[in-house]
């Protein structure tokens, strides 16, 4: 039971993080002055 709950939590975090990554991908930079290297799959072709 505990395992299933943890998996659901990981899935929620994964969806949230992917959503944030996709949102950030359309902007010129992150929050304030830092910009880590963008993953290739998010880069515009």
């Amino acid at each position: 039971m505990k395992k299933i709950n943890m998996k659901s939590l990981y899935a929620v975090v994964a969806v949230l993080a992917t959503f944030v990554a996709a949102t950030v991908a359309s902007s010129a930079c992150f929050w304030f002055f830092y910009q880590p290297e963008e993953p290739k799959s998010l880069q515009e072709k």
Partner: protein
């Protein structure tokens, strides 16, 4: 923060059997999420401590939102970025709180608003967006879209400034909020110019030395 994001992303990828590409996207999103939450929380905390919540939050959000479209000079590390960002929001917030408590003529403020936004529009039209080596803006179409968004956002900030100016006689909060918004625009737009880049790089080097010195002792 990056290490924490990497650990969480590794755990998620392992548990949900994700490919490396998906893991990288999750890690990237987590860094953005953690940095935004962490920095906003520190600014909010210090803002409450020094009684400058409104001023520091206006600076934090106005600079960050404008930066998303206009880009600008970057710090070398996430630690440096967070420290510089927090110090700017708090120190500028304190200064604007003090200036807002003084009696400034609405006519003079109107003049300053016009001056700030004319300067911002000229720089934005000439320079925006400035990309970073870690995130290049490759298509001309996206570049144009971001420049247009910068101009639209500046016009929105101008309208908000007008609202603050309209209510300025009701409370000194409107005065310090207006000054904070104007300083956010000046600071962020200046980071698109060479002198602004020079200042930010100097601050970045200074913070890097302080962090390195702190690690050695």
């Amino acid at each position: 923060m990056e290490r924490l994001a990497s650990r969480i992303a590794n755990k998620i990828a392992l548990e949900l059997s994700y490919k490396d590409e998906q893991k990288q996207v999750i890690e990237y999103g987590l860094i953005a999420l953690l940095q935004t939450l962490f920095m906003t929380a520190i600014v909010l905390l210090l803002g409450s401590l020094f009684n400058i919540v409104i001023e520091s939050m206006i600076l934090c959000f106005a600079i960050s939102i404008l930066r998303k479209y206009s880009g600008g000079a970057h710090a070398g590390s996430i630690a440096s970025c967070t420290i510089i960002g927090v110090v700017i929001c708090v120190v500028f917030g304190m200064a604007m709180k003090y200036l807002g408590s003084l009696t400034i003529s609405p006519v003079l403020l109107m003049f300053v608003i016009i001056l700030v936004f004319v300067y911002a529009l000229i720089i934005a039209l000439r320079k925006a967006p400035i990309d970073s080596p870690n995130k290049k803006i490759r298509s001309e179409q996206k570049r144009k879209k971001m420049k247009d968004s910068t101009i639209i956002l500046l016009l929105v900030y101008f309208l908000i400034s007008m609202v603050f100016l309209f209510y300025i006689n009701r409370s000194s909060v409107f005065s310090s909020a207006l000054l904070s918004l104007l300083l956010s625009v000046v600071w962020q737009i200046s980071s698109l110019t060479n002198p602004g880049k020079f200042v930010l790089e100097g601050l970045d080097r200074l913070v890097y030395r302080i962090i390195s010195f702190g690690r050695r002792t």
